[in-house]
């Protein structure tokens, strides 16, 4: 096993083309996952590729109808940027602590694909697109298709996430709720994102996502679409039906942070409250 520190993106892609690596960006999740006894190196099972210093992948800009985020933009960069969508900032403010946000990257949070990754429900709701590069190819995947399971993504071993694209959109209603054990540094017991666009009592857009209550984030466009371009009254009238539908979709577990009963009940309570507030 080797450790490589490439000087350019091109060089990183060449290395990935020729061998398999565990890609280390900020390292804030990996160093805890691979943690070993104090003073001994973390127990990586694969060669490591360090990319955090590749400044060509650290930017946040608005180009036309898209917000383009370099894979290595840190969570703190995103929290401070004028281009970051407001709903994402609400989530970032409650993520980890400034100590961790200074190093943790957006691509790391996505690639880690943890059910409790707080960027994920927001990025699902914002229809984020993941841009992947390999030596000879570039492809784009919608985040809902990119994360394929618990800590699993559609990344091929020669690919690197280089950019995250978010469509520029505005919403009349936004709701981020994280339920955790303390204000900072908490890993979510559950999280909720609700977005809606309502004009003259017509629902132009309605999006909902739940974090930490299933192996991957739960977002269901079929449920949402039934209420889009419909009167707000219809959405309100069908509140119980909507709650029942999501009740079927989420599958929380018992673990050290919370119980499945609590997670299910609170998730649905927050959704109910979000609909009440519309």
């Amino acid at each position: 096993m080797v450790s490589m520190i490439p000087q350019t993106l091109e060089e990183a892609l060449e290395l990935l083309h020729n061998d398999e690596y565990c890609i280390v960006a900020g390292g804030t999740d990996l160093l805890v996952q691979k943690r070993s006894w104090s003073s001994t190196p973390p127990a990586f099972e694969q060669s490591t590729l360090f990319i955090k210093h590749l400044s060509e992948l650290r930017y946040i800009k608005k180009v036309g109808e898209w917000i383009l985020i370099g894979a290595l933009a840190t969570l703190e960069d995103l929290l401070q940027s004028e281009h970051t969508p407001a709903i994402y900032k609400d989530a970032l403010y409650e993520m980890a602590s400034v100590n961790i946000r200074n190093e943790a990257t957006i691509a790391g949070n996505i690639e880690n694909a943890s059910p409790a990754g707080d960027s994920l429900p927001v990025l699902y709701c914002l229809d984020a697109v993941i841009v992947l590069k390999s030596l000879h190819q570039t492809r784009e995947v919608l985040i809902t298709d990119y994360i394929t399971g618990l800590r699993k993504t559609a990344r091929k071993s020669d690919e690197l996430i280089t950019e995250i694209k978010i469509p520029v959109e505005s919403f009349t209603h936004k709701r981020w709720t994280k339920v955790g054990g303390r204000k900072a540094d908490a890993i979510s017991k559950l999280s909720f994102v609700g977005l809606a666009n309502i004009l003259d009592n017509v629902v132009l857009d309605f999006r909902v996502a739940f974090g930490a209550v299933s192996p991957t984030v739960v977002r269901n466009k079929k449920i949402e679409e039934q209420y889009i371009n419909q009167p707000l009254d219809k959405l309100k009238k069908h509140q119980q039906e909507i709650l029942d539908a999501y009740d079927q979709l989420i599958s929380p577990v018992d673990n050290q942070r919370s119980t499945k009963v609590y997670r299910r009940q609170v998730s649905l309570n927050i959704l109910k409250d979000f609909i009440d507030q519309l």
């Binding site: 450790s3 280390v24 900020g26 390292g27 805890v32 190196p41 360090f50 210093h53 100590n99 961790i100």
Partner: protein, 157 residues
């Protein structure tokens, strides 16, 4: 193993160590920066905080491979500054130190905050030190100390 060069407390260092190693371990074991403490080892407590290019990070979560050509300041380097003297005095007057284990990390968090925001509100101070745990003081004295330092150190930050 690889030669990794970085600046530690304003001196250029070149060290032959595995890039996977935690910055925390290299700082303590090879570079004898024992003011950098290991508390939880998983990013919850901030006892291992250092400044990396002027920003606070937990050194237990930073692999050595990520510090190439960067500038690191530990509490040992920070204590040579005027800002440290002001903070030290303020911590002492307000009783912000009890067992002392969190103090090096807490001072680094105080510096990182005041550097960005020389006149923080109570809420901003609480946010600034939210990644650092203290199990003795209940935080109120630390918050007062940072407030005092921001007043006494007018113009320094």
């Amino acid at each position: 193993m690889a030669k990794i060069e970085f600046t530690l407390n304003n001196k250029i260092i070149s060290i032959d160590e595995h890039p996977n190693r935690r910055l925390l371990d290299v700082l303590r074991d090879q570079l004898l920066q024992t003011g950098v403490k290991e508390g939880c080892g998983e990013g919850e407590c901030g006892a291992c905080a250092v400044l990396l290019n002027g920003e606070i990070v937990n050194s237990c979560m930073v692999p050595l491979g990520n510090v190439l050509h960067k500038e690191i300041i530990t509490i040992e380097g920070y204590r040579e500054t005027k800002q440290y003297q002001v903070l030290k005095e303020a911590y002492s007057i307000e009783g912000a130190v009890q067992c002392g284990f969190c103090t090096p990390g807490m001072m680094i968090a105080s510096e990182a905050l005041l550097r960005k925001n020389p006149h923080p509100s109570d809420k901003e101070i609480r946010d600034g030190i939210s990644g650092n745990l203290c199990r003795c003081t209940g935080y109120n004295m630390i918050i007062k100390a940072i407030k005092r330092a921001s007043e006494e150190g007018e113009g320094l930050w």
